[in-house]
Symmetry: C2
Subunit: 409 residues, 2 copies
């Protein structure tokens, strides 16, 4: 077990129960010794669900299943294993998912599309699904409303800490809770794939509404982080609403009633996303890249990601070097509209360059001081429009090389 | 001076004289102590020139000058300094180039657009051009037809070896020579920018023909390498033809007469491009990524670059780990058309996966053996079309982190 990241939160939050959600975890022996590797979540009848899945053209077998199943917008059970991604396993992998889904749907007397599946771990090796199906009945007997910490731990691969977040929101005269768990730090350690996130609420929301809410919040959270720019074959974020809370009905994602819920969902998902970055392989510093003044929000995001994915920017920060020329390089390589004579740069709140040149009498001392901290703020103003984006990443250190150059077995 | 790369050629080739080209190098004191940092090249009247310049939206001042000057298609002199990139220096930087160009055009009694300039080194600091203009007259007195090794050394920043290549070609009943020198290894060490390449021939070719020849050869050489995916603000490749050789006139780039010349130009530029990768920061292995069966050549190139720029692929190779799942990940994240059930993977010539699955009875032994070598071959067949591309890169090691996380001064 690797050491806990220096950027980890001091303690994990204790998640409250969510009416209609029960969880259980176990070690079914897929890959890891002495730790859990299988999670079962049961949700009350009537639960709605939405998901965002990897855009990789090489999606894992469970991702392909979820894409189909989520079209129905309902979920009664989620089965997640760590240790094997069931990716690039062809028809063998599809059959594994089919057997797992069939076993769970029988157990919960529900339709197969109401069973969602996710896998994370090694790519290209057949998944021993018989170990999963054998473990499902005892897992069902162990289901509990309080097993959130166990659930967050069971989906870890080489994560150094479990990731959980919670928030409440006022909604249509009632109060609802949102819980989320996640794993991952990019496409993490030796041959392990994946970011997974599962978010639950007791709100009563139609699947069509859930889909929009999840997509919007996802753009501002998991789609705004990067560790190494490598897209996993298994990235999956699923939002389930059990509908057990009492509140006025919500008919549309644009309803004003959802304002507080959206804020709470953003808070939970951004918290989880930042925890993933804080657990980035070898991470010693959390970096926030703020881009303003771009032609559009989409353009700002491409520029922010070009900076956040630059190995030269990330190694400079690892070396606590206020090497701002590399931010200029990052803007330049992004391919987005930008002009040197309009570009301004701030580091740690200190103006470094303004409109195409280093500021007169630039004093590097306060910037160098900022670079020694755990949290680094990079601000770039493009000076062309009103587009803005924030992206979170971590530095690139010897730890990343050590973790990823080690032999995988 | 860092240790010579383990991938460096055993010795640098000795470049022959090219009729109409003379060179000289000196230390004018821009940044480095005890090594040369300024190169002057003089070319005979009538020399034609073409260039390819960085696509960065933050181009250096000399790049902006060359873009204008090369429109005329003529060159009499090239002035190159290392130690300062003269990038993101605003109007101050433009004035530096203007003074340098004016001094050289006076020295050679030529038009200003016949003077090309290039700079490589730190970004954002004003260039002390008075040191350059003061050094030009003595440099002119020292010009020699044989100073190719000195020229290749003077443009180095943190390169660990000078890069030179030469070839001859039959052309229109005559024989011509092509010499090239280059520097760089991506956007290399602490705040140093840039890839620079200068290629010279005694062939007699109109500028319009040169442009096409350079663009085509550049796509197959410098545009097919990557060290860290970071685009420099200063990338410059210039091809000059002195027209001193005797051969039949060439009117068009599509002339069949150019077949051998194109082959020789490819050889020189691919040789130089591979030398840049062999000098990649921290490089221990040269990696060739061959993609076949893509929808188009352009699509194959995007896929090959996605694999070659993946930190997970590069660290796996640094660790001598035959982690082929990461190649599948790279194809998946490229965004190009691909289907798991059509994808095949070979490493070191050994079939690892075929049409979406690991091959039956896969024996990793020969692949692991291949991974221990200095030169790694990765072959991916997309199985959809006839598009193909080859890209060269190096592994990502602790050396890269050490070089780039060090403080820049």
């Amino acid at each position: 077990m690797p050491e806990r990241s220096p950027l980890a939160p001091e303690r994990s939050p204790v998640l409250p129960a969510i009416a209609g959600v029960r969880l259980a975890a176990t070690n079914c022996g897929i890959r890891y010794k002495g730790r859990t590797d299988l999670l079962l979540v049961e949700m009350a009848p009537g639960t709605t669900a939405a998901g965002v899945l990897t855009r990789s053209s090489m999606p894992s077998a469970p991702v392909q299943w979820c894409r189909k199943a989520l079209a129905k917008g309902r979920a009664r059970a989620i089965v997640v294993n760590s240790g094997n991604a069931n990716a690039f396993t062809g028809t063998i992998g599809d059959a594994s998912v089919a057997r797992t889904v069939a076993a769970a749907s029988k157990l919960f007397h529900c339709g197969k599309p109401e069973v969602l599946a996710a896998s994370t771990g090694v790519i290209g090796e057949p998944l021993p699904d018989e170990k999963i199906t054998a473990a499902l009945p005892p897992l069902r007997a162990a289901l509990s409303a309080d097993a959130w910490a166990e659930a967050a731990a069971a989906i870890m691969t080489t994560d150094t800490f479990p990731k959980a977040a919670t928030a409440t929101a006022r909604l249509g005269g009632g109060k609802v809770t949102i819980n989320g768990i996640a794993k991952g730090s990019g496409m993490i350690a030796p041959n392990m794939g994946t970011m997974l996130a599962f978010i639950f609420t007791d709100a009563k929301l139609p699947a069509t509404v859930l889909r929009t809410l999840l997509k919007d919040a996802n753009d501002r959270s998991f789609n705004s982080i990067t560790v190494d720019g490598d897209t996993s074959t298994s990235d999956t974020a699923i939002l389930c609403a059990t509908g057990q809370a009492k509140h006025k009905p919500v008919g549309s994602a644009s309803s004003a009633m959802l304002k507080d819920f959206r804020k709470a969902l953003d808070a939970v998902m951004q918290d989880l996303a930042q925890q993933v970055v804080r657990d980035g392989e070898g991470a010693q510093k959390l970096i926030t890249v703020d881009v303003t003044g771009a032609k559009s929000d989409a353009s700002a995001r491409v520029i922010a990601l070009a900076i956040a994915n630059s190995p030269l920017v990330k190694t400079a920060i690892a070396g606590e070097d206020a090497n701002w020329g590399r931010l200029v390089m990052g803007v330049g390589k992004s391919g987005e509209p930008a002009k040197p004579e309009r570009l301004s740069v701030r580091i740690g709140g200190v103006q470094v360059a303004r409109r195409g040149q280093r500021v007169q009498g630039y004093d590097e001392t306060p910037v160098t001081q900022h670079m020694k901290g755990r949290e680094i703020l990079l601000e770039v103003d493009i000076g062309l429009g009103r587009g803005r984006a924030t992206v979170w990443t971590c530095d690139l250190t010897h730890g990343y090389i050590a973790i990823n150059a080690d032999y995988r077995s």
